[in-house]
């Protein structure tokens, strides 16, 4: 009969020799391996006293960006929610009223915008889908909590503050930056 793979091994039930029956040589062999690891470089760090440096493009907590004039970029188009494979994003849109032009960039804006961080898998597809460069993933991590309710992040936690901008230039691809230079598009003017 042909063998299915060349990895298969014949099993035998041969008797153990005396030294094997004692088990001691095998125990010492194992202990030498364990002991030798004491002198090797440690792979763990002492968190939280020590922290590891994140990659420049680490995908952590989301931020909803504002534009240069401090207006919210998000226009509640729903593409992030559509792209989201975990269905973590929900939003309700509202119409911008007269006198709110300094708050919102487009005539429609997200009145509520919620991300369920328990559902989110931090894949970054929302960022990729966003036509307005409004949502980005940052280096910040989402803190743990005891309540499920604490993981539903609303606009209060997601929108960046006007004074304390979050730099996302590392997450903007060359194509995006090139697109931003193109003054043909109204929203780049």
């Amino acid at each position: 009969m042909n063998k299915l793979t060349n990895k298969s091994k014949l099993v035998s039930d041969k008797q153990m020799t005396l030294s094997e029956k004692l088990y001691l040589p095998a125990i010492f062999k194992g202990m030498i391996i364990t002991f030798s690891h004491l002198f090797k470089k440690k792979v763990t760090i002492q968190y939280p006293e020590q922290t590891k440096e994140f990659a420049e493009i680490y995908r952590g907590k989301h931020v909803l960006k504002r534009d240069d004039e401090g207006r919210e970029r998000c226009t509640a188009c729903g593409l992030c929610a559509l792209a989201c494979p975990a269905e973590a994003i929900t939003m309700i849109a509202a119409e911008r009223k007269k006198g709110e032009e300094h708050l919102y960039r487009e005539e429609k804006y997200a009145a509520t915008y919620e991300i369920n961080m328990l559902r989110c898998i931090f894949c970054g597809l929302c960022e990729e889908a966003c036509p307005k460069e409004a949502i980005f993933l940052t280096k910040e991590i989402v803190p743990s909590s005891f309540e499920r309710q604490d993981f539903i992040y609303g606009k209060d936690k997601l929108v960046e503050s006007v004074d304390n901008r979050i730099d996302v230039s590392k997450r903007q691809t060359a194509e995006v930056l090139e697109f931003k230079k193109n003054k043909n598009f109204k929203h780049n003017k």
Partner: protein, 322 residues
């Protein structure tokens, strides 16, 4: 009966049929797109030029090709005609150019527009458009206005297909809006603002191929693909009462006519059904509408497949195997 060949498929049609309708009789991918032609409206068509096709053979008697492309929605079939649509390089190239022309003044505000997801222009540019615009000049701009209490007009998005004007003339009977000015300045407007108040005026929303005319009761409420389309009916004295409900949970967000695969309504519905009956209890719900699998509206809408069923990838429909 006249015989004609479209993209190497031969079909027999009655005299007086247009090439577009003959292509629709065959169906499938060879049907030219149409932005202005609407089979329920007399005289529509011939405006947008997206349905241009090449005629390689005018008729049996006259086997010469027509030098220019012709609009298939308003060209009648002749016996022995040979039409090239998707197999002709020239047609595809010109359709690409037409799409670019239609988008010249289009604001590209799809993230804001309520029509996004069921927009003919979006579909057209997805298939035939360029990836980015080459247009550098200022786009023409109009402020959005309310025509009537329930309809919003965004003239920026209009492609001047005249469908709403024909609807007003043929369905509403008393036309109070039309196209003013000419050429680049042309715009849809009412003779007296706020004066579209007929029982069937809401149908101009349904016929609009772009987001120029939108439902104010649905304005910014939800994106089309987050709502669930359902077939429903009610006893209505004015219209047939057969509508499509766009539901979000148990709420009715929007009521429209039932649209077929060419995005044309099957029956025009009245304003009472469209704007005022926004409760589930007003309607007898028949069941979910069939949505093409390639449409964005089918995203996150799950359909139950039984074991024997198969998915036909060319049609995008679930078929039941016998």
């Amino acid at each position: 009966m006249l015989r004609l060949t479209i993209d190497n498929i031969t079909v027999e049609v009655e005299e007086g049929t247009t090439i577009l309708n003959a292509a629709r009789k065959i169906g499938g991918k060879i049907v030219p797109p149409a932005m202005c032609y609407y089979s329920k409206l007399k005289g529509s068509g011939g405006k947008c030029r997206t349905c241009l096709v090449k005629i390689a053979n005018t008729s049996e008697m006259d086997p010469r090709p027509i030098p220019k492309l012709v609009p298939s929605c308003s060209t009648l079939v002749q016996n022995g005609m040979v039409v090239e649509n998707t197999i002709s390089e020239q047609v595809l190239k010109e359709r690409k150019a037409i799409t670019e022309f239609l988008l010249i003044n289009h604001p590209l505000d799809c993230p804001v527009c309520d029509q996004a997801g069921e927009c003919d222009l979006q579909n057209l540019s997805y298939e035939h458009g360029l990836e980015e615009t080459r247009y550098e000049e200022e786009r023409r701009e109009f402020a959005p206005i309310d025509i009537g209490e329930k309809i919003k007009l965004h003239m920026n998005r209009c492609i001047l297909c005249y469908r709403c004007v024909y609807t007003a003339e043929q369905i509403i009977n008393e036309r109070v809006h039309g196209v003013l000015y000419r050429g680049d300045k042309a715009e849809i407007s009412t003779f007296v603002e706020n004066f579209v108040e007929n029982d069937f005026s809401g149908n101009i929303i349904d016929v609009c191929p772009v987001g120029a005319l939108t439902d104010r009761t649905f304005r910014f409420k939800s994106r089309v693909w987050f709502t669930n389309p359902m077939d429903a009916h009610r006893n209505c004295e004015k219209c047939s009462g057969k509508v499509a409900l766009w539901m979000f949970g148990d709420d009715v967000y929007r009521v429209t006519g039932r649209k077929d695969k060419y995005n044309e309504v099957e029956e025009f519905i009245c304003n009472e059904c469209r704007f005022e009956k926004k409760k589930t209890s007003d309607w007898i719900i028949e069941g979910p509408r069939k949505i093409n699998r390639t449409s964005v509206i089918s995203q996150n809408h799950y359909e139950k497949l039984t074991k024997q069923s198969i998915i036909n990838p060319t049609e995008g429909k679930t078929e039941q195997q016998e």
